[in-house]
Every structure is written in structure tokens, then in C-alpha cells.
Symmetry: C2
Subunit: 412 residues, 2 copies
């Protein structure tokens, strides 16, 4: 007998069904028991007569017949004919995942992830996150972008920074990649022109804040033949509209559970230069400045453009007055995207490497792409966990990571 999902079963009054799932709530009234059976689709109430009910939290399979009952949630319930317990909890779990809101601190939620992820509000975060990454890919594929997979074990950093995790790679020292920057640029030059990657990146930053992870998922894109950073911002604006609409459509239940609202992008995203932003808020664009900026502009999303050259990596296309053709996107007070136009001239790139006090050694494979001729290009990177966090109104980026890695956390 084929399995029926809980959600479907409620529309099958009079039919026999075979359900599998978790016995989330068990009410034993003596002689009759009500069991809320939950599976990946939702829940349905099961009525068990003349048999002892399963322990709460058990994994069960049920055969029975659906009958209409106005008192049951969804207007139908399953009268159990057979119930088999496939697995039971061996001890009381450290957290009560079945309660609507888990009463536990973040540390406990993260420490007992195998249990806390069983809470529906916590699980909902990751269903939404799956839509965000799929939305990113779907939109870009429709625009002619090709997915790439680039190595995370590298011989040198891309930003010249010291914040790299060192690694023993057989006899040699290697590092974990901070970003696929060099590789995605090479792929633009390969003739693919438009590429994207959704993959982990690594930052050995000692920050221990609510917005930093040491391993996170970076949604990267790079595109050739742009006129300037505006082309990349235009693309991101359309893309976020597409992604948010797909979350709104597919994750209505999750958004309701989390009390979250998807921003309306129909009016576009305001764009300010760095200088305008700083002068508007009267302070630097540090985390507090980012929060104030969204309020001052009166928009949930704000593009900040034309950052000073000293704040951007060497491959950023310069602009007059010590500025760059770069941008950040601030979403509800937090930077979720960094992007811009890149230098495409080989000679200009060499000068920029030198001016930044970096060495060409170790970058030969990257420079080779520029020697062979590179089109004008640019791109961006979106932090998936930060995007999830701000979209869902979470207080800490760790809540948007299944198994976060931070300054102190290496397990679970």
C-alpha cells in the first residue's frame, strides 16, 4: 500500500491511507487516544481505540480510514486500524522540540541541534533558506548564467588578508578559500561570460558577533560585458525581487510561523554614494551606521556605492577621487552583498597589485586570464545566512546556519 502524506490524507475522506511520521502529540483518554501524526507535508489527527498509544516523539506508521470530523484540525481524522512503532526515543530529549516556541537559549539550541531542528519554527528557517539559494540559481540560469564549482583548498588568499585558515595539504601548506573571486573572474574570461556558484567560504576572523560566521555559504556571480557597477546592481535588484516573490509563493506557511514579511521591491532600491550615506547619518558605515542608514533613507534595502579605494580589494575598478566602482547592499540594517566592477586591463591590474603592497607570486594563474584578454566585468557575493537572517528577522546569524562554525563552535 502506497504511502499517503498527512496533508493529502485530510482530503481523502472515506479512503484507506498508509501514513508514516512522528507521533508529535499524544493524548491518552483511556480506551481512546488522539495522536497528531506529523510528516514532511504537515500533520493529521489519528484516533486510536482499544490499543495503547505510542510514546510521544515515536516514529510510527499507521494504516486506517479517513473520516470527516469537524472537531479535528483540518476537518478530518484517521481512524487507526494498525499502528506500528518504527522507533522510539530512548530517553527524554534535552529540549522539548514539539512546543511551538522552544524555550531555550541559543547555546542550547545550537548544542543540541539534532533535537532543536525538530522544532517546526526552527525547521521553517531552513525551508526558506532552500528557496533562497534555489531562487538565486533559477533566476541566473534564466539569464544565461552557468553554474561553476571551484576549489576551496587554495595556495594563496584572494584578498591579501591574513584571515585564512591554514591547512596541511600533503607535504605543503594550503588555505581555505575566502571567496571564489579569482576563479569566477577566470570563468568570465573563458567565454562562459556569466557564471555563478553557491558554496562555502571561510574567514578566520576572530570576531564573535551576532552577524559573523567563520564558514558560510556565499552566493557568488560574475558577469562579462558590463558598462559599470550599475549593471550588477540592476541585476541584483531584479534577482532579489524574483527570489522574494518565490519565497512569498512557496513558503507562506513558514513565513506565517515565523511572523516574517517579505520586503516589497516594486519601488526599486535607493542608491546612495558612500559619501552621501556618511553625510546623511553623520557617522561611519560601521554596523551601527548600517542600521541607521536604512532608517534614515526610509527603506528596508539600500545600495551604497563608490566606496573609498582603501576599503576595497585590489581587483576593484577605481573611480575618480580615490573612489571605486563598487557597492554594498544593506538589508534591514546589515550588509548582505558586496559587489562591483573589476579591473579588466592586465596592466592596470599589475599596478593595483603593486599599489596594494601585494606580490604577483601565487597569482600567475589569475593573471594569465588577463594576459589573454578580459572583457569589462563585475559581480557580487551574497551571504546566504545573512540574507536568511534579515529576511526572517532572526536576531543572530547562527540561527540561519544549520550547524554554525564560529570562534568557539566546531561541533555539532
Amino acid at each position: 500500500m502506497k504511502r499517503t502524506l498527512a496533508r493529502e490524507s485530510r482530503n481523502m475522506v472515506g479512503e484507506r491511507v498508509h501514513l508514516q511520521g512522528w507521533a508529535d502529540k499524544v493524548r491518552d483518554l483511556g480506551g481512546i487516544a488522539f495522536v497528531v501524526l506529523r510528516d514532511r507535508s504537515g500533520s493529521v489527527q489519528c484516533v486510536l481505540e482499544g490499543a495503547s498509544p505510542p510514546p510521544p516523539g515515536s516514529v510510527v506508521q499507521v494504516k486506517g480510514r479517513v473520516r470527516a470530523d469537524q472537531r479535528a484540525p483540518g476537518g478530518a481524522e484517521v481512524v487507526v486500524e494498525e499502528m506500528e512503532v518504527l522507533a522510539s526515543p530512548v530517553e527524554a530529549p534535552p529540549l522539548d522540540a514539539a512546543s511551538p516556541v522552544l524555550r531555550a537559549g541559543l547555546e542550547a539550541l545550537l548544542e543540541h541541534r539534532a533535537v532543536s531542528l525538530r522544532n517546526e519554527r526552527i525547521r521553517a528557517v531552513f525551508r526558506v533558506q532552500a528557496e533562497l539559494s534555489q531562487g538565486f540559481r533559477s533566476f541566473l540560469r534564466e539569464r544565461g548564467f552557468c553554474e561553476i564549482h571551484t576549489p576551496k583548498i587554495v595556495a594563496t588568499g584572494t584578498e591579501g588578508g591574513s584571515e585564512l585558515f591554514p591547512l596541511r595539504y600533503f607535504e605543503r601548506e594550503a588555505f581555505l578559500a575566502q571567496s571564489p573571486q579569482f576563479y569566477k573572474q577566470i570563468m568570465v574570461g573563458s567565454g562562459l561570460e556569466r557564471v555563478f556558484e553557491v558554496a562555502p567560504v571561510y574567514r578566520a576572523e576572530k570576531h564573535d558577533t551576532s552577524r559573523h560566521l567563520n564558514e558560510y555559504v556565499s552566493m557568488d556571480l560574475e558577469m562579462g560585458f558590463i558598462e559599470g557597477p550599475e549593471d550588477v546592481m540592476d541585476l541584483e535588484e531584479e534577482m532579489l525581487h524574483y527570489i522574494f516573490e518565490s519565497v512569498r509563493e512557496r513558503c507562506g506557511e513558514e513565513l506565517r510561523l515565523l511572523g516574517s514579511e517579505v520586503p516589497d521591491l516594486s519601488g526599486g532600491i535607493p542608491r546612495l554614494t558612500y559619501d552621501e550615506a556618511v553625510s546623511l547619518i553623520g557617522r561611519d558605515l560601521d554596523p551601527e551606521g548600517e542600521r541607521q542608514l536604512c532608517a534614515a533613507v526610509g527603506s528596508e534595502l539600500v545600495f551604497v556605492t563608490s566606496f573609498p579605494a582603501e576599503q576595497r580589494p585590489f581587483y576593484t575598478m577605481p573611480a575618480p577621487g580615490g573612489r571605486t566602482r563598487s557597492f554594498d547592499l544593506i538589508f534591514r540594517g546589515l550588509e548582505v552583498t558586496t559587489g562591483g566592477q573589476r579591473i579588466h586591463s592586465y596592466d592596470m591590474l599589475l599596478e593595483s597589485i603593486e599599489a596594494a603592497g601585494l606580490r604577483r607570486e601565487g597569482m600567475e594563474f589569475y593573471l594569465e586570464a588577463f594576459k589573454a584578454g578580459m572583457p569589462p566585468h563585475g559581480g557580487l557575493a551574497i551571504g546566504l545566512e545573512r540574507l536568511t537572517m534579515k529576511l526572517l528577522g532572526l536576531g543572530n546569524v547562527r540561527e540561519a546556519s544549520l550547524f554554525p562554525r564560529d570562534r568557539h563552535r566546531l561541533t555539532p
Copy 2:
């Protein structure tokens, strides 16, 4: 003026177009020159009169008018009105990427990746690869699977093996994940039931063969409420049919370029037990055995099932006679998938850990999921580069990796 792609321009006879791309081939006949302009969509011939042609390999933009010409490839060409060189090669490249078949050894192709990827046959490999990973995700999403992102920095290995890359994680030692095994099982138990991940995995194996990479992309899935490994094999069979058909539909040009044929799965994939396979070929299922097996069975794909317990990790569901509820998929003589049913009982798992000579320490977060009750479940992992390699008939798995990491290769 909006950009037109080369492929579209050939259907726009009489219209003005704005093209951007690479001047792949340049024939200067003195006073008149023919330039094949290539972009991500394909190529179109441009005719340049009374101006000096761009250096071959340049990045150019062209404004001109399309006219019908039976002698031009595709029956149309662009009469150039303006041509601007956006970037030129600064020196002769180490490889001639524009030639139809690159005459270079694998070492040179990999060493000069930024140039060799400009060859259309090499680039075609990665367009097909992008369809394989997207096909995996699309199929699984249609079947109710949820995408997950799990950490690649871990405190312990999943297989108890010694083939881990060690890493310095702040003050502690950590490792690169060999597989998302523990995490994907936890996510089945979370109630998501069906999950997948496409992400890098790491094996510090000292092998230096044509089929091993030390960093590769693993396409993992895990599903709850199975009856046995047959459910996972059935799913893979349908999935490969779906993926291959989508490659056939979307990558006709790439398959033609590479002279590759997609296997026909309409007859299903034969299934043999390990014992049957070994007895059929009269030798062990080592690499040579895998090659012989496909020939002996007369099928491009063969499932081998019921491996001996000593060949499978501790979490594999045992079967009578020292066998396991496990399988491999052999594709054109190479293992591309390992999968099976997992142990879901907490007590049985503890016994299996002990029997394997492993310690529970470091696995607490994994065991917690089993303590809370796990449904019967199973899953598989497909090596993306191996699948690409065998589908396209490549001789070495490194050809199916943009920037391979192997025993000796840490750059580009």
C-alpha cells in the same frame, strides 16, 4: 543600444545589432577582413572593410547591420560599422585555445587553465556538468526534497578513516569533511525527511590515478521511511533518467562537440549482488573488475548490491550472512555512486560503532538524533566529476574538474 547575442543576430537580417565578444578568428585579406565573433551564445561572422582588423583573441564590441550571405556560416553576416577593441592579449598565449582540438598534454591543459578553458570543447564539459548538478536538484525538489548546507570544517571524520586533511581552527585541530553523512542523517530525523546537498568533500587519499580527486563535488541525498535500499536505487534510476534526458535536451551542441552519447535508461539498470558480480567476472570488484562487470552484464550501468560488511562504514544497515543493505552504481566501468540503507536503531548503532573499533566520543551530536527516534532511512552520494567524466567519455577525472586538486596539484 541593447546588446544582441551572436546566435540571435543571424536571424536579424536587415537590422542593426550591437555585438560583444571575442574575435576568435581573424582573416585579413587586405582592405577587407573577416572576423568570427564569439560570445556565450555562439558565433557570427563579421565583415570589416577599410579598417585594420583586431588582433586575434581580442575582446571587441561591434555595431553593424546583418545581411544575408549564403557563404557565411549560418547564412548571415554582420557588416561592421564600428568596432572597438575592449582588451587585447598582451602576449601569445601558452596554448592555442581557438583550435578545435587543443594539442596539449593534460598537465599543460591544467596548468594553464585560464587559457585552456577558452577552448570550446573543454568549456563544453562544464556546461554539461552544470546541467548534471541542476538536474539532480530539480528532480529532488519535485520529489519533496529540501536543500541543505552543512559544514565542511568538522571535529571528527565520519568514516573513522585516517584520510582526513587536518586544519588549524583557531586554537584547535579540525578536519575537512569527507562527506555530509552525519549531517544529512540528522536532517532526515529533523522532520525534513528528504534532503540533498551539492557541495565539496575532501579525501586525503594518496592515490594518484585517473579517477581520484582529493577535493570533489559530492551530490548527496538522504531520505526517510524507506523499506530498503531498493527504494534508494529506484529513486536513483528515475533521477538519472531525468538528468540524462535534460542533458540530451539542453546540451545537444556540447554532446555533438564532444562526440558523447547519453545512455538510454528506458530498460532500467540491472542489479546484481556483490557475490553474483564477483562470480560473474571471476575476480574482485577492483577498478579492473568494475570495467569487466559492465562488459559482462552488457549494460552501461550496473547496480551492485549487498556488499560485505567489512567493505562498508559502521552506519550501514547489516543484512544476513555478513552482507549489508548497500549498493554501488557502476557507470561505464567506474563506480559513480555509493549508497544504501542506514542503521536507524540507537542500540544497533552503538553496537556497530563498537564492533568497528570506533569510539562514541565526538559522535554525541550524531547519536542524539538516534536517541530522539529515527525513521528507517537511506541515501546515496554521486561524485559529480566522475559522472561527468563517464557521461562524456573523458579519460581522466581531472578533465571534469575546473581546477582539480590532486596529490600534487594545489594551483591554479
